[in-house]
């Protein structure tokens, strides 16, 4: 060991370091380093990845951070041992929590009292001592150095020398040397690394510009003067510091002194309190069998065997406490009547099913328990719980309360650069105008990758061959997946026995009163932090609402678990693609697939949920599966040995579990390797990991007698999972919700639509589209009524009464006021409503405009006039004026005025569809309405409607899909890429379109292949209609 780099920034020094921690570890290994420190600014964000990468490369990972002190100066801290790690975490947590997000300043007082187990380096030019020396303030430099020496101890404080071929550093080094000699403080050399190779200067410059909101042309000396801040060969460092050999030697001493590894962390769960005389396992055993008696009636030998098997493994892995903690959360939800359901691999567990954590019977569906938990992996499983989204906060607060804020926290989500964001930021840094980058960014989806940027540049007005545009593309590629800032994960909570701030730094989130740890869910899991995902799911809210409405109006108590999942009417509805509002299968792609797949049983729904996803689509699995299912193609297997694994999905691998089994069976992977493959399949950063596994996977398959072509095909199919592989158990949990929501739509349509409207925003479609769908299903929608409406939509017999929540201008305070007065007594008159609710004038006028006051005998305009007259008046004044009512000749509303007022005020119309007003005109043009398409001949056709959805899926190669709605139904329009580009204006910006094209029918799916697109105008100036675009 000749030299160890002890001051190194990765891209987790946000917008400063220009390499992933993994890349730095790899480079260090390549250069022959035996150890490397990671010292990102004010955090330990990247240390888990760094630790893993170092482990892989067999070099020692030294954990550290360059902290910012309250005086603004930097100090590098390195962790010597576990105590040091814990101290550093606490120092950082305090610094981060006591300052606004994005700032962190460690109080000197705090640093002086917490320094055990840490080594400090005086830092770069931004360090206090270097700054003072550069100003020739030797007296204060000495004082500071002595203080730090005293705080950290003689052997734990070093004066840091740096040399990037800069004159000021040469001067500083000599001053530091003198100071060190005078005060007996050792020197240490570092290179303050910001990128692994000199080429990294480009990206680092760009990052600096992004951070400082400037461009490269303007940045000037904000940028580093040269490209020397890279990992250098030990020999080069020795030559650079030839005058200070001891500074090089000391790097080795420090590296040897730092002996903390994240493997030592081993965070544990808090002990779950169990009844006296019980152990966690005995208590879990008892609860499981109590649950089993409820769930399995009668208990089958398979179920009994499975439960016993699982309990055995849980006992051996000592995970009973974890299961009890999750059970407790589910119990809390049940006690508070909050709908919850375990998702993901937990549904593979019969114990989870018995404990009421999951709702899918894994025994009945023959799900693979080892996907959830295996003895070989020896780690806590991941249990995700979906909770009805309107009550998720109650559950989070319960966890905080139960375990204390010191021991519970939310994991972060590292927001990283993708297509749009990278184009915007890199483009601005390169000096492109805001409009140019904005225009290019808008051509991209949020998750576009760098390859797509190349495509879109060609479409934009930018000259692809210009140097700056080329740089833009190159740098966007480089910056892709770079962390930009932290967000909150949408539900991941970690619970620890030790205070969390001793395990990982905690910082403020943007959301008030929320804090997050500095690791995302994968990093937390890698360290062994046990995470419970408490995810909000809108569909559970809908189901909860529907169950309550059915109970209230029909006196029927529905338990989704007892539905049987075999009702033919439900499958008929699904087979017809009539799925607006139905969970997971309401997108256009799903709607088009359902008539082809024609689900007949619950497992078909499991397949349907997993089938229409980017993974299977990219892996070209969808059409083969459908053809095989419909008998148009023979069921074959890539290799006979795979038949038992793939039989259920007709030879087409769809699920992660199948991926695991294929790897084990065909390539001879061990369970552990197969699990790594599985993780790669369901992982955000999985593409790279999948590629790494590809060689051994294909080699293994070839070795087992599968020819190379077939092996490559199997690998391609598996690799497609990298975008988002689905666990079979997860699909099963979701399929359950598909069935339940479809069941409600079939048997309780009024309750279903009422619940759906109350659960908004939810799903794919706007309330207007949902209301039109309800009308087509015979559910009458009643307008808002000041005397009958509640805040939420309600049922009046089988009719749905719109609630006040749909009236624009009414917000939470209006809700409070209206509900408070409604609890007192019914509103008796318009005046009574106005004075008691005391709503602001615009809100009252909006209510009048949507006809909410017709119950008091006023038409819309009369009500507006009346409301305007009541403004700023007291009830007393009003009583004096009651007798003096004058006739006011206001113009009356015609039908289109009513429609416009409804769309203006509610965003929907309870009565008419806007297209009705154009129908006469459209009939004259030979336009066919949606309901007649089924019987129309294939060939040229004209259709028209409101554009309710626009989509351009990444997997569709530039095709745009429009869904039009008229008063009779929906029309699917397909726009070819060249036309999508040519007619972009009309397609993107028109709320109503007339489309000329060709009618095509296939397996009950009707599409219009669009040729001409003409925007349509409404006679009265149009309705304010919001479509759901490119979601």
């Amino acid at each position: 060991m000749e030299y160890v780099e002890l001051h190194c920034h990765s891209n987790f020094s946000f917008l400063d370091g220009a390499n992933h921690p993994e890349n730095l570890a790899e480079k260090a290994s390549h250069l022959g380093y035996k150890a490397l420190a990671l010292t990102d600014h004010n955090g330990l964000y990247g240390i888990v990845r760094f630790h893993k990468a170092c482990k892989e490369k067999e070099i020692k990972a030294i954990i550290g951070s360059e902290i910012t002190l309250e005086n603004g100066h930097h100090l590098v801290l390195l962790v010597k041992n576990q105590q040091g790690y814990s101290t550093l975490c606490q120092l950082l947590s305090h610094a981060l929590l006591s300052h606004p997000k994005g700032e962190a300043k460690v109080k000197c007082k705090e640093l002086f009292s917490r320094s055990k187990g840490l080594i400090a380096l005086s830092a770069c030019l931004c360090g206090e001592i270097p700054s003072l020396l550069l100003k020739n303030d030797y007296e204060n430099a000495e004082r500071t150095a002595l203080k730090l020496k005293e705080v950290f101890g003689r052997d734990n404080f070093f004066l840091e020398l740096g040399y990037h071929n800069r004159p000021e550093q040469a001067e500083l080094n000599s001053k530091l040397k003198s100071l060190g000699e005078k005060l007996n403080i050792p020197l240490v050399a570092t290179n303050n690394v910001h990128y692994k190779e000199p080429e990294g200067q480009r990206l680092q410059d760009v990052l600096v510009c992004i951070k400082n909101h400037t461009s490269l042309d303007q940045a000037g000396t904000l940028l580093y003067p040269n490209a020397e801040r890279h990992l250098k060969y030990p020999q080069d460092m020795k030559e650079l510091f030839a005058q200070y050999p001891v500074a090089i030697e000391n790097t080795i001493g420090i590296a040897e002194a730092c002996n903390f590894s994240l493997d030592l962390l081993k965070p544990s769960l808090p002990a779950f309190s169990v009844p006296q005389g019980e152990t966690p396992f005995s208590y879990l055993y008892q609860l499981t069998y109590e649950g089993a008696r409820e769930r399995y009636r009668p208990m089958t030998p398979q179920a009994a065997k499975q439960i016993a098997h699982e309990l055995d493994i849980i006992q051996r892995l000592d995970l009973a406490g974890y299961f009890l903690i999750v059970w407790d959360v589910a119990r809390f939800c049940r006690g508070k009547e909050i709908l919850c359901q375990g998702r993901g691999s937990a549904a593979n567990s019969a114990v989870c099913y018995c404990l009421g954590i999951t709702a899918v019977d894994p025994v009945k569906l023959n799900l693979l328990f080892e996907r959830f938990l295996s003895e070989e992996r020896r780690e806590a499983p991941d249990i995700d719980i979906d909770i009805q989204h309107n009550r998720r906060e109650e559950v989070i607060q319960y966890v905080y309360e139960k375990y204390g804020r010191e021991h519970a926290g939310m994991v972060c989500e590292v927001i990283s650069y993708r297509g749009r964001s990278s184009v915007r930021d890199v483009g601005k840094a390169l000096g492109f105008s805001l409009e140019q980058v904005d225009r290019l960014a808008k051509l991209l989806d949020h998750y576009s990758d760098s390859e797509e940027i190349v495509e879109r540049v060609r479409e934009s007005e930018l000259k692809a061959e210009s140097r700056r545009v080329k740089l833009l593309v190159e740098l966007c590629k480089e910056i892709e997946r770079f962390p930009r800032h932290l967000g909150i994960h949408n539900g991941g909570m970690v619970i620890t026995a030790k205070p969390l701030s001793q395990i990982v730094p905690i910082e403020n989130a943007t959301m008030p009163d929320r804090t997050v740890i500095q690791w995302d869910k994968d990093d937390s899991a890698d360290v062994g932090l046990v995470k419970i995902d408490l995810l909000g799911l809108g569909m559970l809210t809908l189901i909860d609402f529907a169950i309550r409405l059915i109970k209230e109006h029909k006196g029927i108590v529905i338990d989704p678990a007892q539905l049987g999942y075999d009702d033919s009417r439900v499958y008929d509805l699904l087979s017809g693609g009539d799925t607006v509002g139905v969970f997971q299968v309401e997108s256009r792609a799903q709607m088009n697939t359902l008539p082809r797949l024609r689900p007949k049983c619950f497992y078909d729904l499991v397949v349907e949920v997993a089938l229409i996803r980017p993974g299977p689509i990219q892996g070209e699995m969808v059409h083969p599966y459908l053809r095989r299912r419909n008998g148009e193609e023979a069921v074959t297997y890539p290799h006979p040995c795979l038949e038992p694994i793939l039989k259920r999905t007709l030879g087409v691998p769809l699920f992660q579990e199948q991926g695991m089994r294929v790897a084990m069976q065909a390539a001879g992977f061990t369970a552990s390797q197969a699990d790594e493959l599985r993780r790669a399949m369901g992982h955000k950063r999985s593409k790279e990991r999948m590629e790494k596994l590809s060689v051994s996977l294909i080699q293994g398959m070839v070795k087992n007698g599968i020819d190379l072509a077939a092996a490559s095909r199997i690998y391609k199919q598996l690799a497609a999972f990298a975008d988002f592989g689905f666990a079979e158990s997860h699909a099963a949990s979701f399929a359950l919700l598909v069935y339940v929501s479809a069941y409600f739509k079939v048997y309780y349509p009024s309750e279903f639509y009422c619940a759906l409207l109350n659960a908004q925003p939810l799903g794919f479609y706007s309330p207007s589209t949902i209301v039109e769908d309800a009308k087509r299903h015979g559910v009458e929608i009643l307008n808002v009524d000041a005397t009958k409406s509640k805040w939420d939509c309600t049922l009046e017999g089988e009719k749905v009464r719109l609630g006040f929540r749909y009236v624009r201008e009414l917000g939470p305070s209006a809700k409070e006021k209206i509900e408070k007065e409604q609890r007192k007594k019914k509103f008796e008159s318009l005046e009574d409503f106005v004075f008691r609710t005391d709503l602001p004038q615009p809100a009252l006028e909006q209510l009048a405009m949507v006809d909410a006051f017709s119950c008091f005998g006023y038409d819309r305009r009369e009500a507006v006039w009346k409301v305007q007259g009541l403004a700023n008046r007291s009830a007393e004044e009003l009583s004096l004026r009651n007798s003096q009512t004058t006739f006011v000749p206001l113009p009356s509303m015609n039908a289109s005025d009513v429609l416009i007022a409804d769309y203006d005020g509610l965003g929907l119309s309870p009565t008419r569809h806007p297209m009705q007003f154009l129908r006469k005109h459209l009939n004259g043009l030979g336009v066919i309405c949606a309901c007649k398409l089924r019987n129309a001949d294939e060939g040229d056709i004209k259709v028209a409607g409101l554009v309710i959805v626009r989509q351009r899926p990444g997997t569709a190669k530039g095709f745009v899909f429009l869904t039009l709605e008229d008063e009779t139904g929906w029309i699917n329009v397909v726009v070819k890429p060249n036309l999508a580009k040519k007619c972009r204006g009309a397609i993107i910006s028109s709320s109503t379109l007339l489309v000329k094209g060709k009618l095509e029918k296939h397996d009950g799916v009707i599409n219009i292949i669009g040729r001409e697109f003409t925007p349509l105008e409404f006679p009265q100036g149009g309705v304010k209609f919001e479509s759901r675009d490119f979601r």
Binding site: G220, T221, L430, G985
Partner: protein, 508 residues
Amino acid sequence: MNKRTACMLIPKFPLVVQLRDQPELHEEPVTLAENPSDRSKVLHTNVRAADQGVSLGMTVVQAKNVCPELCVLIKDAKKEQLKFDELLRKLQRLSPFIEEANPGIAYLDASGLKRTYPQEKDLTEELISFVRFQGYPVRVGMAGNKFTSLVGASISENYSYTIVPEGKEKKFLQLQSIQLLPIGQDLYEKFYRLGIKTLGQFAILPDQEVAERFGSEGVRLLKLTRGQDDEPLKLKKLDEKENRIKDLEFPLETQTGILFYVNSILKRQLNGLAQKELACEKILVILKTEDDNEIPIHLSVAQETNRLKTFINMLRLRLEKVVLPASVKEIQVKIQRSSPLSSEQLGFYQKRKPDLLGQKIIQLKRILGNGNILLPQITSSHKPEGKFQLVPYTSETKRNLKRDTKKKSVHLSNSPFDFSQNSTSGLRLYNPPKPATVRVENGLINFVIADFWYGEVIRQTGPWEISGEWWSEGYKRRYFEIELFEGEQYLIFLENSSRKWFLQGVFD
């Protein structure tokens, strides 16, 4: 005689004013925005921009997204006012009684013009052709009151008119759009909710009910819509009476006396201009003598100014050359041309005197030629010669300089080759660096020839390295500080790409 009012309306006046100065934009899609910000709202558009989907209320960014080749002009209220004042002054030829409502809208009292224009259409046609001649599109309305005439003008086409016969105001207004009422968006939305789309629909509402809902403003609007606008014309004082001193206490014979009175008149006028952030370019002083002669003295400055002293000095010089035929009995001072005051300068002259710098620059330009007046700017760069640049002087440069000063100074404090800041080394830079010949032996520089000197190197420090600007031409240099035998010290560098040596500067 019944009151008659003509309304002259120049549609989109703020945009028209801007386009008059830039005829090359007539065929382009153009829009006018409140300010240069991307979020600024579109105030007016020309037909070409509107055809491409640009509409009022869009932000500039939105408009540019709709129409990428859109040209965005920025509203200039002072200029508008100036141009409109100029037009109105000329219009006084037609009627001396003019009210300016807004830039772009004016009312003329047409009541007493029957003798000159027997038919009302004669006046309206004259008005149209007069304004058209000045280069503006125009619409004219003639009616018994201001509001009705405005509505008449608003519904007319460009270069045409609407005459509302006497007593027919109410009937005329009845079917006109409610949007013609001069009201804010809030009130308009209230009317929209009531279904009131025409002025007639509003006019028939009961007075008291309207008063309860819309207050005195509602009552006023009711009167307007019923054709009962009785508001008199607020005449614009286009010719300031104060600019003239008649009947002096005693006739003036001396230069000092004349200057004294001119001083008092002009001071007031220039203060008035300054309050409007305008400055004066041309002044006419008319001296009327006792023998009824008028002696005009024109004074003009190259750069607009509000400095009284400048004009008084100029007048003094001119008066020295003028022989007065008789004593002066009346003095008149007219400001003939004014324009917006230039933005504030930095340095050289004290604050609030921007005109002085402007004048000096103009003088320099006359002497040195246009384009030879350069402004030094400090810039931020790691390249020593890049720390300073000369840019052609324009008012825009001045503004940029002011905006950037703070930022640059922050940058400079980090500069590693910052010889200008806190440095005692006193490096004089060669800009551009001069080529040098260097002999290197055993990795050490031992002899240098550059420019007009050469010598043996006895000591060297370095190399220091800088590299950057990879996004344009890019550079990478290795610097050395060298000392020659006789003690001279130089900064030289080796350019990586060309492998050539250059002399960067000499240490004093």
